[in-house]
């Protein structure tokens, strides 16, 4: 049989933790309903029975709390926060960007290429390198021809007239310098390649 009073209200009534309004309601019902009244009386009796085994013990527990092994406190100070943020930023940067290190006549250089630009950059570099190779190749051929022609001319003059030879030699040296400057302007590889392979400066007597 379903009780007229919810068990939560009966629980509150039994332990005197109930609002005045609910207490009045319960007491009104208890006057009318003998079953509930008897049930509650039984519960009060049972609580007395329980309390026999529930006396607060006297004496000492003799409990001694052993502190857990202390770890030196690490406090997150402002410095650590900044360091952590910096490391985080650095990690993200390194993750998102590629770092390219190259050597130029001026020394080592480092540049950061974002990963989303990396493939595009590589493609562009490839095309540029190819173009440069072609240019160098053409340039070398032209320079070689020019050098040979100058050398032939110089040899011919040398065998004919000494005075003109001196004057012409100066012209040739000037032309050689112009040629080398052009080569220098074209970049390191160009110059090194040109100098080592054709040894123009060695071929032309001072």
């Amino acid at each position: 049989m379903k009780s007229k009073i919810p068990s939560s209200i009966l629980g509150g009534y039994l332990y005197h933790e109930i609002s005045d309004l609910n207490r009045e309601r319960v007491e009104k019902i208890l006057k009318e309903d003998e079953d509930i009244r008897r049930e509650l009386e039984d519960m009060v009796e049972f609580r007395k029975f329980l309390s026999k085994a529930n006396e607060t013990p006297v004496g000492e527990i003799n409990f001694k709390f052993k502190r857990p092994p202390s770890v030196k406190k690490f406090r997150i100070t402002g410095f650590y926060k900044i360091a952590a943020i910096f490391l985080l930023f650095l990690s993200i940067t390194l993750l998102l960007m590629g770092i390219e290190v190259s050597y130029t006549p001026q020394g080592f250089s480092m540049r950061i290429i974002p990963f989303w630009m990396k493939s595009e950059q590589i493609d562009r570099d490839k095309v540029l390198a190819e173009l440069r190779r072609d240019m160098i190749k053409r340039d070398m051929e032209n320079r070689k021809e020019l050098n040979d022609a100058l050398w032939k001319l110089y040899s011919k003059i040398e065998s004919e007239r000494m005075a003109d030879k001196i004057m012409f030699r100066e012209n040739i040296i000037q032309m050689r310098d112009i040629l080398l400057n052009v080569a220098d302007r074209d970049g390191m590889y160009n110059t090194i390649y040109f100098k080592s392979k054709y040894k123009l400066n060695n071929k032309i007597p001072h």
Binding site: G11, G12, F46, K52, A53, I61, F63, K66, R67, P68
Partner: protein
């Protein structure tokens, strides 16, 4: 929540390590009584008490609302008790109050001291009642058992019980009332059963 507790907590959190001992002193008894209902022996109770205080020691700084300290500490103890109960279930310990020969263990003296204030027959009666109640409690659903232990044996308010168990106050009251009814029924069953045994043995003696 006691103001003294809040003062002790604040003192501890501001670096006074010794004040934690005061907190232990204030809470060891109520927690001991509460834990004892689960373990039913002194050694395990002290062990759980140590674990509870160690957890409080480590995590007190994380407790934001100091007014909830009592509910919080009971919750920690309850979690350890639940773990203990699970372990005990696994090891299938039949009746912790009885030794191998079926004799009732002399563990009524909660704090390791005999209760000299009571007469021997009173001690015997209390031991018998407690034995019956513990058996009956073990037969209850754990949700009801927890509320009964917290309310009837630890004397907490329903509001505190609701906070510890994370349930509405009305649910705590309802579980209490229904649990008490079930406990009464179980106690009656046990007493009836033991009465029958007693009658049977008397007949045999005649």
């Amino acid at each position: 929540m006691d103001k003294v507790d809040i003062e002790i907590i604040n003192s501890f959190l501001s670096g006074d390590e010794e004040s934690f001992d005061l907190l232990v002193k204030r809470w060891e008894k109520p927690l001991y009584i509460f834990i004892y209902r689960y373990t039913k022996n002194r050694e395990d109770t002290l062990e759980i008490l140590q674990e509870t205080f160690a957890s409080v020691y480590k995590n007190l700084k994380n407790l934001r609302n100091k007014n909830l300290f009592s509910a919080w500490i009971y919750k920690i103890a309850l979690n350890y008790c639940r773990m203990f109960s699970r372990r005990e279930k696994v090891s299938e310990r039949s009746d912790p109050l009885e030794d191998n020969e079926g004799n009732v263990r002399k563990e009524r003296d909660y704090f390791g001291k005999s209760e000299s204030a009571l007469r021997p027959d009173e001690i015997l009666e209390r031991e018998e009642i407690e034995k019956v109640i513990n058996r009956a409690l073990d037969r209850l659903p754990y949700l009801q058992r927890e509320v009964i232990i917290l309310k009837e044996f630890s004397g907490l308010k329903f509001v505190e019980i609701a906070k510890i168990l994370g349930i509405p106050v009305s649910t705590a009251k309802s579980r209490m009332y229904l649990g008490l009814k079930n406990l009464k029924r179980e106690v009656e069953k046990i007493l009836k059963f033991e009465g029958n045994i007693l009658k049977g043995s008397e007949k045999n003696e005649k």
